[in-house]
Symmetry: C2
Subunit: 307 residues, 2 copies
């Protein structure tokens, strides 16, 4: 099975308590693709500028990722500059240069039309809706968004949500979107807007998936996956997108989509997120082995299972 991801490929300049890096490869679609590439075929639609090198692109192609959907535009690549303090759950954005990303118009190559799964990374919901509408035959659509769109682009976002099967957002975003501080109540409200399941990411505490009644053969109970206690979170950038990549990638690697598969997908999401933050940027996600992934999955199981 194959996944098409549409989102940002970018450069990040960042500082954490463990060091700093200048213009390293980043972006939601990058983290998502690398993470998902350990499970299934991945295709990327994104835009980069003239400063995006063959070496940058090779990071993805070496993992077998199909990058034919990456448009090369005149100008510079999206460049985010940020900083993390002692609380690694909070990023402080110092500068956002959208550059070529500002006028990004996703265009799906004909070769991608047969994709089985679609992930709409965090971009303008108008573009997300357009892409989703053009991919009617996919089995499952995953999506992400952020407070910027929740606050200021509500109508467009609500349209987008109608086309998403599983939305993956964090606690604050879920509460803001629902206008409710109770997570389970917020989850139900968000699912009334469209998604059949909602994954709420709790950072270092893991993530919870809520199911709409009668969806995915689920009896309605939520399911919670842990995050792994990690000594040194060197760089939390991309943890959420790596989670989404593991989550969607695992689903795509299975022959069916039911509650059991979604539960395992939650664990694989957590596993991939835990790798992502161990080193700066995408470094750790570039050279994993299936054995490392399976062995960490085992740790996640031991961390949570009674017997």
């Amino acid at each position: 099975m194959s996944i098409l991801v549409v989102g940002s490929v970018a450069f990040d300049t960042l500082k954490t308590p463990y060091g700093e890096r200048q213009k390293i490869l980043g972006g939601a679609a990058t983290y998502f693709s690398l993470s998902a590439s350990y499970f299934t075929d991945v295709r990327v639609v994104a835009v980069v500028g003239e400063d995006f090198t063959a070496e940058n692109e090779a990071v993805m192609t070496k993992r077998g990722i199909d990058t034919r959907g990456i448009q090369h535009a005149k100008g510079k690549t999206f460049h985010w500059t940020g900083e993390y303090g002692e609380n690694v759950n909070e990023a402080k954005t110092l500068n956002t240069e959208l550059n070529v990303f500002e006028t990004f118009q996703p265009s799906i190559p004909a070769e991608y039309n047969n994709s089985d799964f679609l992930f709409l990374a965090n971009i303008d919901p108008v573009l997300q809706t357009r892409v989703r509408d053009s991919m009617q035959k996919v089995q499952l659509v995953g999506g992400d968004t952020m407070n910027y769109w929740i606050g200021g682009h509500r109508q467009n976002l609500e349209k987008m949500l109608k086309g998403v099967d599983v939305l993956l957002i964090n606690d604050g975003e879920a509460k803001m979107l629902a206008g409710d501080n109770s997570l389970p109540r917020a989850a139900r409200r968000v699912m009334e807007m469209g998604p059949r399941a909602l994954v709420i990411k709790h950072g270092e505490y893991g993530a919870t998936i809520f199911f709409r009644d009668h969806e995915f053969g689920a009896e309605g109970h939520p399911f919670r996956a842990p995050a792994m206690p990690i000594d040194e979170v060197r760089d939390p950038t991309g943890a959420g997108d790596s989670f989404a990549g593991g989550f969607m990638g695992y689903i795509a690697s299975q022959g069916k989509i039911d509650r059991g598969v979604l539960k395992y997908a939650m664990f694989y999401g957590g596993v991939m997120g835990s790798f992502a933050v161990e080193r700066f940027g995408t470094e750790r996600l570039q050279s994993l082995s299936r054995e490392e992934i399976d062995s960490r999955f085992k740790i996640f199981r031991e961390l949570t299972h009674l017997d």
Copy 2:
């Protein structure tokens, strides 16, 4: 098996988004006792004032709790006044009247000397150490503390920690005590101070137990118990003490103390905490049935277990 708990029995006046209550029964030892009483025999050492009624005490005796260790002193009972905003994880203390609690000198009745387990709820570490030293024959000592003692009574606290087998504190307290923002690293440092295991409570995200190497037959891996997503957290007061009561109570109800028992104890701690917050004060903890506890335990398992 029996547990002796030493701590506060108090009145709480509080306001949450769901309502307010004046001078209702509260206090760490109260929540702990009620919660533990569903698993084992409980004895309480505390102090109350002249405003503490027979009806108040009956809340405990009705649950079979031995209250002979509650001293009745001249003056008023400890009275806490606080408020919770939309973020139920944060209490705002409006007033603390220590009253008779200010000069509390725990005195263990002779009938309590044969207690099998000891829980030192959050009081002055000097008193905790004195009680612990007088109870040399207990099988396991659990303890709690708070930022006030961590910040200003360090030496006394470090003495106390040497006598505690399992310390139960929250994220912020663990980081403060260790002077380290990485939870697993902080856990190791705290355990170097004495405890053989450390339970770090994450509020609505559950709790993690860390084991010192070679203790409790554990191979060192931590274990995480969830909290249950609850629609309406009416009153979060006492959640941590109810967790501790379920945790210690379950351990005391088993014939052995090993990693397997401690893992189940983490789940039962979460279960009891989840009941406590559903209603104001100790209301929900007064009239549970073993069936309700077991049925919620099942929900906790379904929430976290893959198969």
